[in-house]
Symmetry: C2
DNA sequence: GAATAACAACTACGCCGTAAGCTTGTCAAC
DNA sequence: GTTGACAAGCTTACGGCGTAGTTGTTATTC
């Protein structure tokens, strides 16, 4: 028999933090669908039901790991100019969501926002109000930016080809998806491979929105002929 | 025993179309999580396994009903000015997604886009190319707009209070969510109740993006000081 | 009326979340 | 030491899920 090193604390191992950390790791490595109570117990070398000592249930685990991800988002400093604050926090959110590909979908399906999200929102709102935006404009500015963050991130994650694959592999995927029926779309897909990359495209759309907000705040008339009465 | 009315066509009832229609209806009425093979069989008065005669599996059902939703989206006429075409198709998509609250999440999780989506994309791309946009600009314009459509719709659907509830009920929800800890956020939430409503706010962000594209096409310099070298 | 092809039903397997009750390790009080 | 309380973890069980494989059953065709 092998000599056992001090096997003292043979129990008292789990904790809410350990459970959530394991769940986060599992979701990152094997996808959110791999996160089941049984699988999680297996990872932690514990029966599934033991997890219920530390966590209310699966929903609580999803809430918990979502909160961990939101905690990775950089809360903008309150003394920044509004545009810089919004831009920086949007990029930070985008990056956090890309680090945890399952998170966008989970976050959007969660009711009550969680504390980290609230703190973040509160900071952004304060900055925008301090910059002189009206309450309705704050809401609109934030919603427009946030829509872009979540929408763009989800869109990129849903691409049928992974840009981290080798170009050859990705090209094969493109062939499969578009065949030869949609040459216009195909050339756009290839652009995604040869273009400047996801971060630049993300910031392109982001700056478009920020430009619009800035111009609107400066009192410039809207360009859209369709919104005039 | 009750008299049975002519029970002639006791079989030969199911078809792919009927299965998908029932699934769509079920998803709309009871949420996407209610769509299981067993439940669906129950609705169609058939055993779950019988569905496999007409449909490859659950994934195929999700693909199928997603396709039905995308089919509801108005494909923009090719002779429209690009801005009007993009705006109209964005609003049409937004509305279709709101009609089927489960669809945004399902669509984003689906690999291969489906024929309706392809046709739609192809039309938009053609219009933008005809308007003189370069291929990269077409991709960017479309991605920016689509990000807003999906992001905004998901955001609205994830709101913890339903604007279709009575104002009193919604106000109670707001109290529950925000408590008294985040007065700034609270006032923004109340704005959602008293403001001009979801469609207007959606179009606000949409026009912001369209403005940006239009200005960029006109050769106007970007306003962002952060993107200059 | 018999053959045939289409179709629904059934059985079974291995997953899932979790309610309820049980065993066991730990430690303080005596 | 012994005892007892208590919490951590285990076991069992239930109803649900998707679906592979097999077995009726029926409607149509000759």
């Amino acid at each position: 028999m092998p000599v056992e090193p001090p096997p003292r604390p043979r129990r008292r191992k789990l904790s809410r933090e350990l459970v959530l950390a394991a769940a986060l790791r599992l979701a990152d490595e094997e996808g959110i669908e791999a996160v089941s109570m049984r699988r999680l117990g297996q990872v932690l070398r514990v029966e599934a039901m033991s997890l219920y000592r530390h966590v209310a249930g699966k929903e609580a685990i999803l809430d918990g790991i979502s909160e961990l991800v939101m905690g990775e988002v950089e809360v903008p400093a309150r003394n920044l100019p509004w545009r810089q604050a919004l831009r920086q926090s949007a990029i930070s959110t985008h990056q956090a969501l890309l680090r945890h590909p399952w998170a966008s979908a989970v976050l959007e399906s969660r009711r009550n926002p969680g504390e980290a999200r609230m703190t973040y929102l509160d900071a952004v709102v304060s900055i925008l109000l301090d910059a002189g935006l009206s309450t309705p404009d704050v809401a609109r500015a934030f919603m427009a930016v946030d829509s872009h963050v979540y929408g763009f991130t989800l869109m990129v994650l849903a691409w049928p080809f992974d840009l981290r694959d080798s170009p050859d592999e990705a090209r094969i995927m493109i062939d499969e998806v578009f065949g030869h029926a949609y040459p216009g779309l195909r050339s756009m897909a290839e652009l995604a491979l040869t273009g400047p990359g996801v971060p630049v495209e993300f910031e392109f759309g982001l700056d478009l929105t920020l430009d619009g907000i800035e111009r609107r705040l400066a009192g410039a008339p809207r360009a859209s002929p369709l919104r005039s009465p």
